[in-house]
Symmetry: C2
């Protein structure tokens, strides 16, 4: 029974784990569309711009298996991934910062697909407190501990301006928060047992810039030959 319990979180290659998240998103989408019941590794590969061999290799770590010439059962695969990511075990999260970004997050409908729910949104600005964001009323920061206790909140999204991010993080750590979802570009300094997930969007744009530069370069070289 112990070994059972321990096995619940399997050890995948880190790279595989990252792709499993992509498969999960794709399969969720396909499941909603209801257009097909099976999917080939080839089709998945094409949509995610990877190779079919890679897809099959990744799936070989799962219990679900595919049928030659038929592919993988979408519902079955999705169910296993849901289980794997603990989608059914709902996580209550809160948002600090009720600006545009915080509001966008609060209104985001996709959280239910990954077993998360936004239970409250906070702002230090008295002007914003009391206003509605979607179905939530903006609360003052002092209410954070109460909400955290009541809803067993472990994860907090920080959506405040750069210069307030560290301060808010310190506060949350003091309140016993386990994980910070950091939407500021500020590198946060927190104790080692607090999980920080940086969601610095500028990284994506840097990748685009780089890829654009590379394709320009290729064009230049080809025209030269």
């Amino acid at each position: 029974m112990k070994s059972e319990k321990s096995k619940e979180i399997l050890k995948f290659p880190k790279a595989t784990f990252e792709r499993l998240k992509q498969y999960h998103a794709l399969l969720t989408q396909l499941e909603i569309e209801q257009k097909q019941r099976y999917i080939l590794s080839e089709e998945i590969a094409e949509m995610l711009k990877i190779t079919p061999e890679q897809v099959r290799k990744d799936f070989s770590y799962l219990k679900t298996s595919g049928k030659p010439k038929v592919g993988y059962n979408i519902s079955e695969l999705l169910a296993e991934l849901d289980e794997l990511f603990g989608i059914k075990a709902n996580d209550n999260i809160i948002i600090v910062g009720a600006g545009n970004l915080g509001s966008a997050l609060a209104n985001y409908k996709g959280f239910q697909n990954i077993g998360a729910r936004v239970v409250a949104i906070f702002d230090k600005d008295q002007e914003k407190v009391g206003k509605m964001v979607g179905e939530l009323m903006v609360l003052p920061l002092k209410d954070i501990p109460r909400v955290v206790r009541r809803f067993h909140v472990r994860t907090v999204a920080i959506c405040v301006p750069e210069d307030a991010a560290q301060q808010v993080a310190d506060l949350l750590v003091a309140y016993g928060i386990k994980a910070i979802w950091n939407f500021s570009t500020r590198i946060l300094d927190v104790p080692n047992d607090v999980i920080v997930q940086n969601e610095d969007i500028t990284r994506g744009l840097l990748s685009i810039k780089h890829m654009l530069a590379e394709s320009e370069k290729r064009k230049y070289e080809n025209s030269e030959v």
Copy 2:
């Protein structure tokens, strides 16, 4: 001279390139703070939760070198990374979708640090057209081709609801856009020569869920011994 030109975009290990973006963000922050002129590989490593050896290995691909016992000159390192990422070559980008997320993006101040500028924001909703988002007036979709031509826009951020994302992508591809910065969770189907950068935020939350589950598991196991 050809070889000069070709060398402008150096070949780094992919993993190193990803970390270079983190170093860039960190150094940008330190440069703004003006608290120190030099930084040790050890200090960088601690802030980014990697090893100092990794940092030095990554930097060995750069021209900038550090001084034993002194570290790396922050300005010098940042200047090289700026050059490397083409920060000085400004990129004009546009945003489609003037909801909370699009508005957050339009108001984001950090773009200048990575050589990007939002020149326009669009929405299909007539109610939103004409309203101000920061310093930009929301424009109707039909104005996209004009703006793209006038500002040489290559990159577009898609901030529309899930079910409109593919449609907008098709439109943009037809207008000759080179790169799509996709903020919807929808997997987009576009021609191979169009760059797509997916900014699916739910992935970060899945990582958090997984890390929380792992640390719970560790706690459980330790208490059992």
